[in-house]
C-alpha cells in the first residue's frame, strides 16, 4: 500500500510538469520505436532468408577470369560431374538486364523447357519459346500482366517480344521481385552466349557432409573456378545487418549519443528546486529510502510507458505497415525494391535487451542524482 501511495505521489509530481513529461515520453518512445523497428526488420529478414535459402544449390561453381566472373564451358560441367561424390552438375543460365526505359535492373533467369508448376506463380512458368514469367516488381514497373507483351532489348540491340505467361505472387517478392524467367534457349539467344557456355554450375552431392571436400577437389581440378557452398550463402545472409556494418553502426551510434546526452543532462546534478523539494519531504518525515523510491517510480513511469509504446509502434510499423518509414531509407538507389510483407519472426532476447537498455539507465539517471540530496540533512537541503 505504501508503495502505491508513493507511486501516486510520483505521478502527481510528474503531472506538475505535464507537457514536458509527455513530450519526453513521446520522444523517448519514438527513439525506441526506431531502434526496435530496425531490430525487428533485420531479424525477420535474416530469419526468412536463412529459412528460404536452405534450398539453394548445395554448391555453385563459378569461373573467375582476370578477376571477373566469366562464363563456364559445358565441358567443365561434365568434368565436375565426373568427380566422385558428385550426384549431378547442372548448368545455370542467368544474368542482369538494365532496362533503360525504367532505369531498373532485372535478373534474367533461364529455366528448363519443361518446368514443374510452382504454387508461387500465378499462371505458369514459360513452356514455349517467346514466353516469360515475371516478378511483381517487373510487372508493376512495366505495367504488364498475364497475356501482355514484355519487350526487352537483346545483345544485338534488337527488341525481343516475350509474352507474359505468369506473374510471381506477392508473398514471394523477397525472392522474385526483379526476376524475368525465360526458357533457357531464349536466354542464351537473348544474351548472345557463345555455344557450349553456361553462367555457372549448380552441383548436387550425394553426402552433404562431403561438400567442402568436393569443393576442394573442384578447386584443385580447375584452379580458375570458385566454388560457393550453401553454407557460405547462408552465412552471407546471417551477416546482413551485422552490427558492425556501417548502417547499423550509424543508427545505433546516433541513438546512443542521444541517450547519453539525455542521461548526462539528468545526471549532472538535480536543480535547486528539486533539492529544495527533497529537503521539504525529509523535513516532514520522509526517509531517504522513501525519497529514492519516489525517484524510482518517476523514472519507471516515464521509461516503462515509453518502452511499451515504442515496442508496440515498432511491431505495428514493421509487420502491419510493411516498414513504410524504414524501407525508403534501406532501399537506397534501387529502382525495384520489394514491399516488406515479412513473416513476424521475433527474437525475444532482442526485446529483453531493448527493455533492459532503455529502462535501467533512465531509472538510474533519475535516482542516482537525487541520492546526495536524499541523504543530506533537511536543513542543508532546504537552504539549497
Amino acid at each position: 500500500m505504501r508503495h502505491l501511495k508513493i507511486l501516486e505521489y510520483a505521478l502527481s509530481s510528474l503531472l506538475r510538469r505535464r507537457y514536458k513529461n509527455l513530450s519526453l515520453v513521446a520522444v523517448y518512445a519514438f527513439t525506441i520505436a526506431v531502434l526496435a523497428s530496425v531490430l525487428f526488420l533485420t531479424h525477420a529478414l535474416k530469419t526468412e532468408a536463412t529459412r528460404l535459402l536452405v534450398d539453394a544449390p548445395e554448391l555453385v561453381v563459378q569461373r573467375v577470369s582476370a578477376g571477373r566472373h566469366d562464363l563456364m564451358s559445358t565441358e567443365s560441367g561434365e568434368r565436375i560431374g565426373a568427380i566422385p561424390g558428385v550426384a549431378a552438375s547442372r548448368p545455370r543460365y542467368w544474368g542482369y538486364y538494365y532496362d533503360a526505359l525504367t532505369e531498373a535492373n532485372y535478373t534474367l533467369l533461364g529455366v528448363e523447357s519443361e518446368p514443374a508448376g510452382l504454387e508461387m506463380v500465378e499462371g505458369r512458368l514459360p513452356a514455349a519459346p517467346g514466353e516469360c514469367a515475371i516478378g511483381q516488381g517487373v510487372a508493376g514497373i512495366r505495367k504488364v500482366g498475364i497475356g501482355d507483351d514484355l519487350i526487352l532489348i537483346d545483345s544485338d540491340n534488337i527488341g525481343t517480344v516475350l509474352e507474359v505467361a505468369g506473374v510471381f505472387r506477392s508473398p514471394s517478392d523477397l525472392l522474385t521481385n526483379d526476376l524475368v524467367v525465360l526458357g533457357r534457349d531464349d536466354l542464351i539467344r537473348f544474351f548472345g552466349y557463345p555455344p557450349g557456355r553456361a553462367t555457372d554450375f549448380a552441383v548436387e552431392v550425394y553426402n552433404p557432409a562431403e561438400v567442402d571436400t568436393i569443393a576442394g577437389k573442384i578447386k584443385r581440378l580447375m584452379p580458375d573456378s570458385r566454388p560457393i557452398t550453401r553454407s557460405e550463402i547462408l552465412r552471407t545472409y546471417a551477416g546482413v545487418f551485422n552490427w558492425r556494418s556501417g548502417m547499423m553502426l550509424t543508427v545505433f551510434a546516433a541513438a546512443l549519443i542521444a541517450f547519453c546526452i539525455l542521461a548526462w543532462d539528468k545526471a549532472t546534478g538535480i536543480s535547486a528546486e528539486e533539492k529544495r523539494e527533497i529537503g521539504i519531504l525529509k523535513a516532514i518525515g520522509w526517509e531517504t529510502s522513501d525519497i529514492l523510491e519516489l525517484k524510482f517510480w518517476e523514472g519507471m513511469a516515464i521509461s516503462l510507458t515509453s518502452l511499451l509504446l515504442g515496442l508496440m509502434a515498432a511491431y505495428l510499423h514493421v509487420f502491419f505497415w510493411g516498414a513504410t518509414v524504414l524501407s525508403p531509407v534501406i532501399k537506397g538507389w534501387s529502382v525495384l525494391f520489394p514491399d516488406f510483407r515479412l513473416i513476424p519472426f521475433i527474437d525475444p532476447y532482442q526485446i529483453l535487451v531493448i527493455s533492459f537498455l532503455t529502462v535501467t539507465p533512465y531509472v538510474a539517471s533519475t535516482v542516482i542524482p537525487s541520492w546526495k540530496a536524499a541523504v543530506t540533512d533537511p536543513e542543508t537541503a532546504m537552504r539549497g
Binding site: H69, P115, S172, I228, T229, V329, S334
Partner: protein, 99 residues
Amino acid sequence: MNKHRFFIGLTLLQTIFLGLLLMHGEARVATLSGQQLPALRATVRSLQLTDLSLWTEARYTRHPSQADRFTPFQDFPSALEHFPAGSIMAPVRSDSSQP
C-alpha cells in the same frame, strides 16, 4: 488520488496489447511456415535461387553470396558506393580453404 490506478491500468493494457501482438505474430509464423514457406522453398529449389531480391543497384548488391570480396571495387575506378546496401551487407565471408 486515483492516478496510480490509472497508471497501473494503462500499463497493464499496453502490456496485454503488446502480448497480443506477439502472440498474433507467433500464430502467423506457425500458419505461414505451414502454408507459405514450403511454396517459397519450392521456388528456391526449382529456380535454383541463391539470393534475395532486395537491392538491385549492382551485381554485388543483388547477388551478394555470389560476389567475391573485391567485386564491389572492380566496376571501375570511380565507381560510386551503393548506399545503404553497401553499408548493410557485411563483406562476403568464405571458408578458409577459399582464396
